[in-house]
């Protein structure tokens, strides 16, 4: 007596070890399958990881000179950068002498924005874009303050003039 076991529904099997197809179609299909099976490492996740790494390095550097950022300030800095549009560059990070976390988007002699993040909800900022210096304070409670969003858009507007690094 022979027994055959059939699945209730058709299943797809991908066994690259036995894949010997060499046609162009096979090559393309193999590439597509490989891409589909690759873990979805989004650019947002990579960006967040890169920022966290820089944050840790900045905190360690500050600690070496006796300055300590509070966990709250580090957390708020991370929250702010995470809330930004993913196409914006990750800022340079410095821990200031007062323990606040400084975030610098420094793209040229007259293309710079710095934001300082402390324990509270108030952020301080200063920018020089073109010939216009601006500075002030904004509140951050989770969403990117409109003023900062505006300044970042100006800083990274397509075709912005400014000296290269």
């Amino acid at each position: 007596m022979n027994v055959a076991i059939m699945p209730a529904r058709p299943i797809a099997l991908f066994v690259p070890r036995f894949d010997e197809a060499v046609s162009q179609t096979a090559v393309e299909l193999r590439a597509e399958i490989s891409e589909a099976l690759t873990p979805d490492r989004t650019s947002d996740a990579e960006r967040s990881d890169a920022f966290i790494e820089q944050l840790i390095q900045a905190a360690a550097e500050a600690a070496s000179r006796g300055v300590y950022a509070t966990p709250e300030a580090l957390d708020r800095a991370h929250a702010l950068v995470s809330a930004l549009a993913s196409d914006l560059p990750v800022p340079e990070i410095v821990v200031d002498d007062d323990g606040e976390v400084g975030l610098d988007w420094d793209e040229g002699r007259r293309r710079v924005l710095t934001v300082s993040v402390g324990e509270g909800s108030t952020l301080t900022f200063a920018s020089l874009i073109g010939t216009e210096p601006l500075h002030g304070r904004v509140s951050f409670t989770g969403a990117v303050p409109e003023t900062l969003a505006f300044l970042l858009r100006r800083l990274y507007a397509a075709g912005s003039a400014g000296d290269h690094r």
Partner: protein, 144 residues
Amino acid sequence: MQPDQPAITADPVRPDERISRFVLDRGHFTTERVKFRAFLPPHNNTPDGLVLSVGRTRDLNEAEVWAWGDEHVANLGGRTVFARGDFTLELIQEVAANGVILGIVPDEPPPRHANITGWPPFARKEVRASLAQQLAAKAQLVRR
């Protein structure tokens, strides 16, 4: 080696004389410019308030300028001078934020030492940052 420098008394800073801010941090300059953080005053809180230390380097040749920086800036903290930002009192006085205009006051010894004064107090961090950004925009980078 002590450079042979012409004597300079603590006379008031002339509007057009060269003033140099020495850069000790590699991250504070690029190939083209000095970044604004090189111009932020540390939390030193002297009797004159917050001050930014600079050198009056007029009449010094390049070797003498670097020697001054090595002796009176870098050696104090066991660090290295990598570059400097040069400007004048005239340029500094073009910088303003919140009604604040900076000045330069001789502060000797050591000879040729001066301070940029007039910075807003600790609580006005954003104003200090704005002034530093404007200073950086006006400074001329000189790399060693």
